[in-house]
Amino acid sequence: MQELASNLMNITTLLGASGGESLFTYQESSGGPGWLGLIPVLPAIAALICLLLLFLARKGMASGKSRGPAYLVLGFLALSFILTLSGFLMWNGQGKPAWIVTLFDWINITWNSGDGEQSLIANFGFYFDGLSFLWMLFVTFLGSMICLYASEYMSGDKGYARFFAAFGLFVASMSCLVLGDNLVMLYLGWEGVGLCSYMLIGYFYTKPEAVAAAKKAFIVNRIGDLGLALGLYLIYTTFGTVQYDELFRAVAERTDAAGSPLDFATMWQSWAIPCLLMIGAFGKSAQFPLYVWLPDAMEGPTPVSALIHAATMVTAGVYMIARMFPLFLMDPDLHALHAVAWIGTFTALLAATIGMAQFDIKRIMAYSTVSQLGYMFAGLGFLTTTGGAYHVFTHAFFKATLFLACGAVMHGFAGQLDLRKLSGLWSQPGWRITSVAMLVGCINLAGLPLTAGYFSKDMILAEAFYTPDSLIHFSGLMGWILLFTAGLTAYYTFRVFFRVFVGPEHYEPGDEAYDHDSDETGEESHHPVEEHGDHHADHFHPHPPGWAINLVLSVLAIGSILAAIPYFVSDGNDKSKGWVGDMLYSSSAFYKSPAGHADKHGNETAVLVPADPVVLPASFADEPAAAGAAKGKVPAADAWPVRDQVEAGSILGMDPHKAMYYISAVFGLIGILIAAYLHGPKGPAGLFIGNRTQAATSRADALLPKLGPLPRWAQNKWYVDEFYEATIRLPLWVFANIFHAIDKLLIDGALVDGISSLPKAFARSIRPLQSGVLHSYAAGMAAGLGIILLVVWVFSL
């Protein structure tokens, strides 16, 4: 067991000591069962074996075409899922201490031994608590499902083993990220997933666009990673530790690791650390400034987009903020959380508008992911980690379903993704399961009442209004923007559904080479196109997905429906938050919102009082705990800001929690109706299913000119890419060339070569003195003599 954890003093949870609730319940930790450490290691081993297989295949010792690697990775992923599940069941419990399992010492440096000893300790260890179990459950589950899906989807591709090696490595690094017990492990996972997404996006490495997309993804992630890295350094410099348990205890007691008190109110780090971490999160979870890489990442094979760019990697940012929530709360004015909320909302709106105007269904799904991530961040911004986490949970399921469905369509129609060239799949033979899965995904995404997506989105929207403006300014306004975006989301989701699945049967196959470049052996020639006959549709017969894809689609569809259950099931003490709330309760992400009024289940309003009088700055002690509902905030000049009970916000005068069910449902339905009106088949009969005759309605096309330039702008992604190109890439390129010129001409040319040619120049200049004429030498001698005499004379005066 990890001796560091055991010798941690077992402080009584703050709840008990002071009656009031501390900012957050500090979760002290204890050693967990060793085998839990296998969870991240198993996929890594799978990846290594795949590499060996690939290496042997290259050497001709193993057949390159077998599906061995896929099943190998699938087996290991399933095993790690089972381990996670059993670990969770063993651990499950409110307020139980987090488990720490350390494999080995990684970075372990101590100096100035004796007094003032300092140390930087980052072990290869794992931290199991509610948050990490929640995340690991759906990461490993979705990982194995999508791996099964990919085993069939990727069959026939030459780089099969390479794909699954990267797949295994990805899940391994994701688990390191989620389970890591210190910030450096988080950083390890963070960059690890960045690398794997680089390898997987760039899977079709012969295609320049794929390589460019992969490079773009890695570099934009790297920009985010810099923010995270600097945040990490600042945390270490302030608290003296990067281990979670020490860090959270320090933040709870408002001291640094050595116990000397830190006055969060006045420290500049209290806002600097969360802002830096936020930048890291935005880089990884594709939020506003750094989201440009996600839509381009669709170049990769669909299982990659499903797993990485829908369910797991992009949620890493949300996980990190949830994990580091106590640090976000250090800042009395919550600057960082304001930024998170605002950027989340803005990204949601922006991505939704772009998503509406795209024609490539995978790109639409990508923008919808960016938009839903905006929701999750907004949820975090409104101080509801539970809402955010639950939306991550449900979104993982239904977005994976959607992506896989689109993948199946693309697989079947030889790479065709343009919704204008596909319609009426519902009634096609063999496509029924895909269409149903698509439908389930769409209703969840659109937030149709009683679906999982509805409940999770509702939680966030409710919190938007529930959190008073005094805590998060303009949270109400943001709530309304999010509601409007929910409508847009419903619209573009069903736009895809109606255009692709409903309506008359009409399809054109994409160019085969687009998707899986089946033949990589040497010659570059296109796959013999005649066989697929892309000119006249009758020759081309779409081949419906196989058993594996259908199985996975159905499982995930059911999963996304069942994802609604955790909203109701809850055995924790705060019934309103559901199972996800219980999970987060026993983790660092738990946060008791100060806003309160008679709670849904009637338990008394939670009053938040700074917990530990001992630590309190003197000036605070004499002021009675703010019993009354003092409006606004106590000026946080010197004392730890009193989060006394503030009046909860309301929506249109009603209690947000109850009212939100109806309001968000209304917005969702309006969106769907508009989509049906514009893109659905004519007449109510066609609305549903099976009407083959009605051609795709042209109402949408009729509406376009009336809207002016807006649709064109939206289609071109509001020219954000071009803007970045002009303001960042171009200047950098120009600077690079300038530096190159400076280096070659100025430093190397002028300075170095210049100086080295000085002696030769000087020699050339005095050569004429050697004129060969006797008299000039004599004159020189005489002049020299004269000068010497003169000098002697002058100095002798």
Binding site: W111, T206, I219, L230, Y233
Partner: protein, 556 residues
């Protein structure tokens, strides 16, 4: 001469003898003799590591007690000794040597004797630098490394190798002459210290420990001059920003093995010399000027990084990348705290491994396609997947991907720079030092620039559409993809990258003691300085060395 000293001396003498032997024997046997001598080198390095008392890794061990007097009048003795830092660098050099010999079996076909002779002669010179405890012995070996390198580049390089070789030699040579001037100044200063101050003062003595005490007793002005003289010499070798222009030329023209050892160990002579001479010799001046050197390092990182991006020649790209990477190393060095110093020493070893390996891969590609420019190469993963894997692996190692060795050293350097000098702001993470958070923030952008240019290289060379030089059909002894020999070399370099990435404690534990001594010079607990009855403290200008004072002084 203790029996243990035999190890170090044989580590120098046997390869030297071998190089002479190679020169005398036939062309055919040149490589085998070179291989044998390099293997002996590895064995000796391991024996030295075994004999080394790791618990007391700070002290100079395996050395000669008194040393062989070379010039008794001037107190110049051939005294050797090794502490943990030097030993690790010797192990790195010994580890790279056989790989180089093995790696150039197909690259070099004519006059093998001179090639392998000089290659083997390079090893004792390098070891001499790490082993020397006497200034002149150190300086001689420091200069000796130039000669073999000059010959390797000038007679076995590619197109305009002569110019590159001469520029390399003259540039480094002028630099080190200035450094010698600075060091001799210290010796002269020591000469006219009164003998009572410390053992070895007041007489001609070139022992490094003695000179270190003398240098520390110098007033600030003189220390500044000595600092800049030494930096002028060693910064050229490191290549720090303004004096780096010789490196790209030397690298592009050097043969594969030449540029591997140049990047692997020769650049480390500069950083090692700075760690061994500049930092301990001129503490006050370093505190005064650390900000300037840090600025050069940071400019180097971003400036060289951006230049890499516009390079058309792969080797020049990797050469500029080592300028950028060593900028991190110098930054960590001048952070003057344990994490920074650990990071920079680790960086020396990791950079040697990962950039050395990168040069090997590029060499293998060059042996097949005989061109290094991006214009006529592309998407080689199609034809050489194994090579592509290793190229990707080592690129990720040098871009600083966690889990591989590059990350640990870069992380430690940056966190060291961040917390150095941050002991003023509240929180206990900060330590005493001249740098600060802003240095780390800007240097951090170097990580992004590194990602840009390395992925640019990967995107162009390894991935992307397949393109070979026009009119190229496969010929020559090497198979299309890597031959077993080449795979052996790559694996031999990949394993330590991974091991050091996952378990750096292997090295960091042993480095704690020697680096703690260097830090104590700055935080005032230097045992030699601290105790009251040591006459040394009397003679010393009573500089108040408490951290806060030094910190004010540094940030004045």
């Amino acid at each position: 001469m203790g029996v243990l000293a035999v190890i170090l001396w044989s580590l120098i003498l046997i390869p030297a003898a071998a190089s002479v032997l190679i020169a005398m024997r036939t062309e055919k046997s040149a490589q085998t003799v070179a291989m044998i001598s390099s293997l002996i080198g590895v064995v000796l390095a391991l024996v030295a590591a075994a004999q080394f008392d790791w618990s007391n890794s700070g002290a100079m061990q395996l050395g000669t007690e008194s040393g062989i007097p070379l010039i008794p009048a001037l107190g110049v003795t051939l005294s050797t000794g090794v502490d943990a830092i030097a030993l690790w660098l010797i192990i790195l050099a010994a580890f790279l040597q056989p790989l180089m010999v093995w790696g150039s079996s197909t690259a070099i076909n004519e006059n093998k004797r001179s090639y392998y002779g000089w290659l083997t002669a390079l090893f004792p010179a390098m070891v001499g630098v790490f082993v020397a405890r006497d200034l002149i012995f150190f300086y001689a070996c420091f200069e000796l490394t130039l000669v073999p390198m000059y010959v390797l580049i000038s007679s076995f390089g590619s197109t305009n190798r002569k110019k590159a070789a001469t520029k390399f030699f003259l540039y480094t040579f002028t630099g080190s002459i200035i450094a010698l001037a600075g060091l001799v100044y210290v010796a002269v200063f020591n000469l006219n210290l009164d003998p009572a101050t410390f053992a070895g003062a007041g007489e001609w003595n070139f022992d490094i420990a003695v000179l270190q005490q003398a240098a520390q007793a110098m007033p600030l002005g003189q220390q500044g001059l000595v600092l800049f003289a030494m930096m002028a010499g060693f910064a050229v070798k490191v290549p720090l920003f303004p004096v780096h222009t010789w490196l790209p030329l030397a690298h592009t023209e050097a043969p594969t093995a030449g540029s591997v050892i140049l990047a692997g160990v020769l650049l480390k002579l500069g950083t090692y010399a700075i760690l061994r001479f500049v930092v301990p010799f001129a503490p006050d001046a370093v505190l005064e000027w650390a900000w300037l050197i840090a600025v050069f390092a940071i400019v180097g990182i971003v400036y060289a990084g951006l230049i890499c991006w516009v390079q058309r020649d792969v080797k020049k790209l990797v050469a500029y990348s080592s300028v950028s990477h060593l900028g991190f190393c110098i930054l960590g060095l001048f952070a003057l705290n344990m994490t920074g110093l650990q990071g920079s020493v680790l960086y020396m070893i990791n950079h040697g491994l990962s950039t050395g390996a990168l040069f090997f891969c590029i060499g293998m590609m060059y042996e097949r396609y005989h061109t290094r420019s991006f214009n006529d190469l592309g998407g080689l993963a199609r034809k050489m997947p194994i090579w592509a894997f290793f190229m990707g692996f080592f690129t990720m190692a040098s871009v600083g991907l966690p889990g591989l060795n590059g990350f640990v050293s870069e992380f430690l350097c940056l966190i060291g720079t961040f917390q150095s000098g941050a002991d003023g702001i509240d929180g206990i993470g900060g330590t005493f030092g001249p740098l600060g958070p802003w240095y780390a923030a800007i240097a951090g952008s170097g990580m992004i620039v590194a990602a840009i240019y390395l992925l640019f290289m990967m995107g162009k060379l390894v991935f992307g559409p397949f393109r070979e030089p026009d009119g190229y059909e496969h010929h020559g002894p090497l198979p299309e993809d890597l031959s077993p020999r080449e795979i052996g070399i790559c694996v031999a370099l990949a394993v330590p990258c991974l091991v050091l990435g996952l378990y750096p404690k292997l090295i960091t534990d042993s480095l704690e003691a020697p680096l703690q001594q260097t830090i104590d010079i700055y935080t005032g607990e230097d045992p030699a300085l601290a105790d009251a009855n040591n006459p040394m403290t009397v003679a010393l200008v009573p500089v108040d060395r408490t951290p806060s004072v030094l910190f004010e002084e540094a940030t004045r």
